[in-house]
């Protein structure tokens, strides 16, 4: 269990003179749910962009499963076992729930999907993955509904499901509860806890309450750096964390 799946070394991302991520050394252990929290502007999302390949870090390196992936483009991280969800729901709005998930499963094949002479139906494994994930998400009844017609809560669940279709080693979730109603949040929290049983999950969250119950490890970021890291109880009790969040509340 102590094997490290994702590791950053002195990772930095600068926008001009402003260092959004400033020397972060993060280790995500395999088989855990690891949350990164912090007040607005702490650099969580910038860190996430570096990890998913959306932005090139200015300094430092990222290792996944022992391999240096610092300069790997975003789409090429899927094949090695990394999958992500978006903070702002990003689905194929006009396509059915089933087709959304089937495409996500097909994505692991990368360029093999360029096969223009083969019928879609021949990709039975992808269809099976889509069905399985739909069951797991509790969206089976909505299989033929267009993603854009789902309720916001269901769209957020599908958003996480898209990442699941790649059968990834590591799930990177960017504020999965973002914009969700108070009633829907327990559904998402439960789903993430479920996923944590057979995936390594790295979660970016703004809301501290959500991650306390499900995380194995919590990293608190502030001003681009790691402020505190530890078990939920230790983090909850830490004075510096309170100060960082209180400081935000005072503004």
């Amino acid at each position: 269990m102590s094997e490290i799946l994702l590791e950053t070394q002195d990772l930095a991302l600068a926008y001009g003179g402003f260092r959004a991520v400033d020397g972060v050394n993060l280790s995500v252990k395999a088989g855990t749910i690891h949350s990164v929290i912090g007040p607005n502007g702490a650099g969580k999302t910038s860190l996430f962009h570096c990890l998913t390949g959306g932005r090139k870090p200015s300094e430092g390196s990222i290792f996944f499963n022992g391999a240096d992936i610092t300069h790997r483009p975003a789409h090429a991280r899927v094949g090695i076992g990394m999958a992500r969800s978006f903070q702002v729901t990003s689905l194929f709005q006009n396509l059915s729930v089933r087709e959304n998930l089937r495409l996500a499963a097909q994505g692991c094949d990368g360029d093999k999907a360029l096969a223009f002479w083969r019928p879609v139906g021949a990709g039975k494994a992808h269809i099976a993955t889509a069905e399985r994930v739909m069951e797991r998400l509790g969206l089976a009844a909505k299989a033929n509904t267009a993603a854009g017609d789902l309720s916001h809560g269901q769209q957020r669940v599908l958003e996480v499901g898209m990442a699941l279709c790649g059968e990834p080693k590591l799930l990177l979730l960017d504020e999965p509860t973002s914009g969700m109603g108070i009633d829907d949040i327990p559904i998402m929290t439960h789903l993430i806890a479920e996923l944590g049983k057979d995936h390594t999950v790295m979660l970016i969250e703004h809301n501290m309450g959500i991650v306390m119950t499900i995380s194995d490890t919590i990293t608190v970021m502030s001003r681009g750096q790691i402020l505190v890291e530890g078990k939920p109880d230790a983090v909850r009790a830490d004075e510096r964390v309170r100060a960082a969040y209180l400081g935000e509340a005072a503004v």
Binding site: A76, F86, Q106
Partner: protein
């Protein structure tokens, strides 16, 4: 009727409708040449539809592929003395290569810059053809383009000099292209192309290198468009400079939009509408493109699915009435 039309089989559904239209066209229209022209442009519109309707890529470079297919096949026949099949293969390969090149550079940008790049390539092609007048005939066009008979391995099979024989030949090629295009759209590639149109950053996040998919869409589109261009040169025994002009790109896009983006059958209807409008109205009123403009505005504003979209919703409404 509805079940037949919406059937998913490669040879059922709209393929049957296309077959019926192809059989009827030369019987209904005054000349087989007019019918052939419609089918050739339908092929070009269908190729444009693959980019625009499925990939969401508005290319104003289609005229370049069309013109290149016309010129290169004609030049190969005139100077190289090659036969029909070889000339068509040359057009297909050249179209695929040129489109891959144009696609490769254009898709580095998105949105309006992408469109401008395809336009720039198209204009470059036009002026190249204009400048190389020793080969292309420049403003006068390339004259005396032959229409050889169909022969395989030195054996003459069919003479295509007659207008009806040539129509059948073109219609058969169209049928093959149509079935092929349906396969492409229903393939992993086609479904990914739609995904890229819907949400490119999500498509990339689930693992697709979207540039490869857009490029292949260009390659396929260019190959089919150039094939149409080659067939057109043989139809009118002449390659006018217009074949590679801006207006050609424009017309192909307009046919696609009028017929309905995202519907292959629509491309046939769109090409039919435009060619017939030109044929009928140009003899009555030389300013007929004005009406075309009005039609285009009406369709874009009121009938986003194009002619085929309108027909589809009409069928839908009729069958719902039947059930009620």
């Amino acid at each position: 009727m509805k079940r037949l039309m919406t059937s998913k089989g490669l040879f059922g559904g709209t393929t049957l409708a296309v077959l019926a239209i192809l059989v009827l066209l030369p019987l209904v229209l005054p000349s087989a040449t007019l019918a052939t022209e419609i089918v050739i442009f339908a092929m070009a519109a269908l190729a444009c539809n693959l980019l625009l309707g499925y990939g969401g890529l508005l290319s104003f470079g289609q005229g370049l592929f069309f013109g290149a297919g016309s010129y290169l096949s004609a030049l190969a026949m005139i100077h190289g003395g090659v036969g029909l099949v070889t000339a068509l293969v040359i057009a297909i390969v050249a179209g695929a290569l040129i489109a891959t090149f144009v696609g490769m550079l254009s898709i580095r940008r998105t949105g309006i810059y992408f469109v401008m790049l395809t336009l720039a390539f198209s204009q470059t092609g036009y002026f190249l053809a204009y400048t190389l007048s020793k080969w292309t005939g420049g403003d006068n066009g390339l004259l005396d383009v032959p229409r050889p008979g169909l022969s395989l391995f030195g054996v003459d099979l069919v003479d295509l000099k007659g207008a009806h024989a040539y129509y059948v030949f073109v219609a058969l090629i169209f049928m093959a292209v149509y079935v092929g295009a349906r396969r492409v759209i229903d393939s992993p590639f086609g479904s990914t192309l739609v995904a890229i149109r819907e949400n490119e950053s999500r498509a990339s996040a689930v693992g697709f290198d979207t540039r490869h998919f857009k490029m292949l869409a260009f390659t396929l589109s260019g190959a089919v468009t150039a094939l149409a261009g080659a067939l057109y040169g043989m139809l009118i025994n002449y390659v006018p400079l217009d074949n590679i002009a801006m207006a050609m790109s424009e017309n192909i896009v307009i046919m696609t939009v009028i017929g309905g983006t995202g519907s292959l059958l629509g491309s046939l209807l769109g090409a039919g509408t435009l060619v017939l409008m030109g044929e009928i109205l140009s003899s009555i009123w030389p300013r007929w493109p004005l009406l075309l403009g009005v039609l285009l505005i009406l369709i874009v504003v009121f009938l986003r699915g194009g002619v085929w979209g309108g027909v589809e919703s009409l069928i839908g409404r009729m069958t719902r009435k039947d059930e009620a």
